[in-house]
């Protein structure tokens, strides 16, 4: 299996598979969080179901490993690709039309996503799962507020009453959007998606999923 590391297409496969797992996690995370919009109580029930239970901790460890893998490969690929580009850069270069800006700046966008991700972890994960794993039932925030580790709704209320947090999250979502529009499309392209009905413009259209699943079958 050394070809996964030694060949360019192997490395591409790792990026796309790890990326897709992360997208699946985001979908899972999203569906849990939607509960908070409707009922704080329902959301807190979910929080206590996950919390520091062994399965949630195990899943977190797996996720962390996948993120590390995705990040390591992204760094490796970026370095290798810069080298392949050569030491002499073009004086004039234009982005051809039809090429999305996101596709050419995945690493930088990824770094932005990572930065906000750390912020997000320090606000929620650290105070909720991590504090609970350490054996505390309450987390003390920097301004002295204490919130129960499974009272997710209270955390959301606390943090999102700060305007800068809201702005930061909006920036984060935008970056994530750009990262994922190219990432998801590219991952499907890897396995031959959009093959026969050929949308090559790198955009996700409503019929994209249908097309990519129906055309992924071998010819």
């Amino acid at each position: 299996m050394s070809w996964l590391i030694n060949s360019s297409i192997g490395r591409k496969l790792i990026m796309s598979v790890s990326g897709i797992v992360l997208v699946l996690f985001l979908l899972f995370h999203l569906s849990m969080n939607v509960a908070a919009v409707f009922s704080a109580e329902a959301y807190n029930t979910i929080c206590s179901l996950l919390g520091s239970n062994w399965y949630a901790v195990a899943a977190t460890a797996v996720l962390a490993a996948i993120i590390a893998l995705h990040f390591t490969y992204a760094t490796l690929l970026t370095l290798q690709n810069r080298k392949a580009r050569g030491s002499n850069r073009y004086t004039v270069s234009a982005r051809p039309k039809g090429v999305s800006w996101a596709s050419q700046n995945m690493f930088v966008i990824g770094l932005i996503v990572c930065g906000f991700f750390i912020l997000h972890l320090s606000q929620f994960w650290y105070n909720m799962m991590f504090t609970e794993v350490l054996g505390h039932e309450e987390a003390t925030l920097c301004d002295g507020t204490t919130i129960g580790t499974t009272d997710g709704a209270a955390f959301i209320e606390y943090y999102f009453s700060h305007l800068w947090v809201v702005v930061a999250y909006l920036i984060w979502y935008t970056a994530l959007w750009f990262h994922l529009t190219h990432g998801i499309w590219s991952a499907f392209k890897l396995s031959g998606g959009t093959m026969r009905y050929g949308s090559n413009d790198g955009k996700l259209s409503p019929t994209f999923w249908l097309r990519s699943s129906s055309s992924a079958s071998p010819e």
Binding site: W3, N6, S7, S8, I9, G10, R11, K12, L13, L77, Q80, N81, K83, A84, R85, G86, S87, N88, R89, Y90, T91, V92, S93, A94, R95, P96, K97, G98, V99, S100, S103, Q104, M106, H182, W185, S186, K189, L190, S191, G192, G193, T194, M195, G198, N200, D201, G202, P218, E219
Partner: protein
């Protein structure tokens, strides 16, 4: 209507692979917009020779868009600003009076500069030698329809075979990747029964050679497809991915 224009050409000069290159700007007057880009360079070279200076070295051969010899990164685009043409098919009517045209060689670690605008593309030959062929002699032209081939496959194979191996894909790719070239060469054979038999071995060998020669990793930006003078589709890259992955998983 075509008219005569005065232009400045800013050209990359580099005496040898090791020496440092630099830009030099030349003024050209009364260039007919009906002339081709390479004819404009011929005029420049004639002028330079008459002045006792070194002419600019650039690659060219057929001058009708089929051999893949011409190159040049013109104003930020391989083969210039026009769409779906090679540099030799590019006309001066794409430029306007008073314009400064920047001409650079392909810049990629896989294609080192030999001199001025000429780069060494023999890496592509090495990739072809690694597997871009059919091992047996398939004889003369077979009778039509003696080997039935579905129309859509024949067409896809023909489209892939349109690749002239000029290297514009590598030149424009921010990753310096040769995937579009390799995928076209793998596809043109993999789609046809004669080439199908060796498809798995070919995909593995050609990808291995491509990686070995220091070309970058494809990240599906799609710039290659946009700039390719022969409009080779990145669908070929998806096909190569699949050929390669299924071959590796079978091992």
């Amino acid at each position: 209507m075509d008219k005569n224009i005065n232009i400045k050409v800013k050209i990359w000069r580099q005496r040898s692979p090791k020496e440092k290159g630099f830009f030099e700007t030349y003024n050209l007057e009364n260039i007919s917009q009906g002339s081709s880009f390479l004819e404009m360079l011929d005029i420049l070279n004639e002028k330079l020779i008459n002045e006792g200076k070194e002419p600019v070295v650039f690659d060219h051969d057929c001058r009708e868009g089929i051999c893949g010899m011409c190159s040049l990164y013109i104003n930020g685009h391989p083969h210039g600003p026009d769409e779906d043409v090679t540099t030799c098919q590019l006309h001066m009517r794409k430029f306007h009076d008073g314009e400064t045209i920047t001409v650079e060689p392909w810049r990629s670690a896989g294609f080192p500069v030999i001199r001025d605008l000429m780069v060494n593309r023999s890496a592509f030959d090495e990739i072809m030698q690694a597997g871009g062929y059919v091992s047996v002699n398939t004889g003369g032209v077979p009778d039509a329809n003696s080997t039935p081939i579905a129309k859509d496959k024949a067409e896809m194979a023909m489209d892939a075979a349109a690749c002239i191996g000029c290297g514009a894909c590598v030149a424009t790719c921010k990753n310096g990747s040769a995937m579009l070239f390799v995928s076209a060469k793998v596809s043109q054979l993999a789609l046809l029964p004669q080439g199908r038999i060796e498809a798995a071995r070919r995909a593995k060998a050609m990808v291995a050679k491509m990686d070995e020669l220091g070309f970058g990793n494809c990240t599906n930006t799609g710039a290659c497809e946009q700039e390719c003078p022969k409009s080779i589709s990145i669908t070929n890259i998806a096909r190569l991915n699949r050929e390669f992955l299924s071959a590796k998983f079978k091992d």
